[in-house]
Symmetry: C2
Subunit: 237 residues, 2 copies
C-alpha cells in the first residue's frame, strides 16, 4: 500500500497535482461542503453547486429549491440561503437544491475535469469519509476551496484532520499535509477559538452566522459522503 | 500604524497580492537566500541570481564567479556550487557571483515586476531584516519560493519567524501568516528535527548537504540585508 495523501491549499495550485487516478476531496467548511453534507444526510435527492446567483436562473422552476445569499441575506425570491440549518429533512427530503457557492463550486468543477472521482468533505462527515478513503485503493488529494484562491485556516484544519486519521494507512505525505496536520493538532481541542485568529473572523462576525460556524465544526453528525455525478452531488451509497 | 503582513506560500499565488507599495521578502532557505545573505555578508560586491545553468554563460568571463550545481555536484568549469560554505570571505570578497537557483530566481523576478522593493531573507539575517522592516512605513509580503511552485515547510517556517518578530508592529495578518507563525512556534526549538518531517527530507539526504542545512537554520550569523537592484543583489546599506 504505497498510497499518497496530498493537500492542495487552494484551487490556484491544483494544476500542480496529478489527480487523474486520485480521489479528490473538496473542502469548503464555511459553509458549502458542510451544508451539502447535511442536506444529503437529510434526504435531499441531489444538490447542484453553481458559482453565481445568476447561474441559478436556469433552474428556476418548481422542481428545484434555490439557495443563495448576498451579504448574509437570502436573495429575494430564493428558497433559502447557505446556512446548514436550512437543509433540514422537512425542507429538503426528496428535493434537488441548486446551491450558490463561489469557492466550493470552482474547486469542484476544476477537480472534476481531471480527477478519478470528486467527493465532498466536512467535519460533519469526517469519520464516514475517512473510513471510506481507507478502503479505496486510490491516492487522495484534499483540495481546500479557500477564499478567492487564497489559503484559509478552516479548510486547512479539516484537511489536517483527515491526514491525521489516515496517517497509518497511507505512505507518502507532502509538506502541505504535514503543515495541515500540525495545525489541526494544535487547534483540535477548540477549533472555534482557533479560528478566531483568522483574518476573516471579522467578516464572519458581520455575517452574523456564529451558530452556523459552530455547527460546521461539529464532528460526525452525518454518515453520507456526497459524490459528484455529472453536475449533481448525490449520496455515494 | 495600520501596516499589513501577508505570507504568500508559493510564487504561484503571487498574483493574488497587491504589492505595488510593499516590500517583498523573498525566502528560499535551502539554500539560495541563505547563500546570498552569507555571500554579501562576506564582502561579495553583488550576486546575480539566474534560473538556469545555461543563463550563466553570458557571464562567463573572469569578472564573475559562477555558481551552479547539478545533482548536488558543482557543474564542471564552474567556480562553486550552492553551499553557503562556498561563500567565504576568501572566495567572494569584492567579487560578483552569478548564482543558479530555480525557485529563488523565479520568485525574485516575479516580485520585482510589481513590488516597491525586493529584499532577501534567511534565518542568517532574521534579526537584521526584522529590525529594518519595523522602521519602514510599508506593508510587507513574505514570499516563499517553495519548490516548483509547491508549498514547502522550511520557507514557511522562516516566514512564521518574521511574523512572530513583527506581530506587535503590524496590524493585519492574513490566514497564511497565522499558520506560518504557529508552525514556527511549534518548530522553533529544533528546526532541524521539525524539517525531518518534510516530504523532501529524503531528497536533501541524498544531496549529502546536512551541514548546509544546519548552517542555513542558524540565526543571525549576518547583519546584511540583500536588496535587488536591477539584476543584482547588493547590500542594502
Amino acid at each position: 500500500m504505497s498510497r499518497t495523501i496530498e493537500v492542495c491549499l487552494t484551487p490556484a495550485l491544483l494544476h500542480l497535482y496529478a489527480i487523474e487516478k486520485s480521489i479528490v476531496v473538496v473542502i469548503d467548511i464555511l459553509r458549502a461542503t458542510s451544508s451539502i453534507t447535511y442536506g444529503l444526510e437529510n434526504g435531499a435527492e441531489s444538490i447542484i453547486p453553481v458559482a453565481q446567483v445568476e447561474d441559478c436562473l436556469r433552474y428556476s422552476n418548481k422542481d428545484y429549491l434555490l439557495a443563495a445569499e448576498r451579504n448574509g441575506e437570502v436573495v429575494p425570491g430564493y428558497d433559502f440561503g447557505n446556512s446548514p440549518f436550512s437543509y433540514t429533512q422537512e425542507k429538503v427530503a426528496g428535493r434537488t437544491i441548486v446551491l450558490t457557492t463561489t469557492n466550493g463550486t470552482k474547486a469542484m468543477h476544476m477537480a472534476q475535469k481531471r480527477a478519478h472521482q470528486v467527493v465532498v468533505g466536512s467535519f460533519l462527515n469526517l469519520t464516514a469519509l475517512c473510513d471510506w478513503l481507507k478502503v479505496q485503493d486510490k491516492n487522495v488529494l484534499l483540495l481546500c476551496a479557500g477564499w478567492k484562491d487564497q489559503f484559509n485556516l478552516e479548510d486547512t484544519l479539516f484537511a489536517g484532520a483527515v491526514v491525521n486519521r489516515l496517517r497509518k494507512d497511507f505512505m507518502h505525505f507532502d509538506d502541505a499535509s504535514v503543515a495541515a496536520e500540525d495545525m489541526y493538532l494544535l487547534a483540535k481541542d477548540d477549533l472555534r477559538t482557533y479560528l478566531k485568529k483568522s483574518s476573516h473572523s471579522h467578516r464572519l462576525e458581520q455575517l452574523n452566522i456564529e451558530e452556523d460556524v459552530q455547527f460546521c465544526l461539529k464532528l460526525d453528525v452525518c454518515k453520507v459522503i456526497p459524490v459528484l455525478d455529472g453536475e449533481r452531488l448525490v449520496k455515494l451509497f
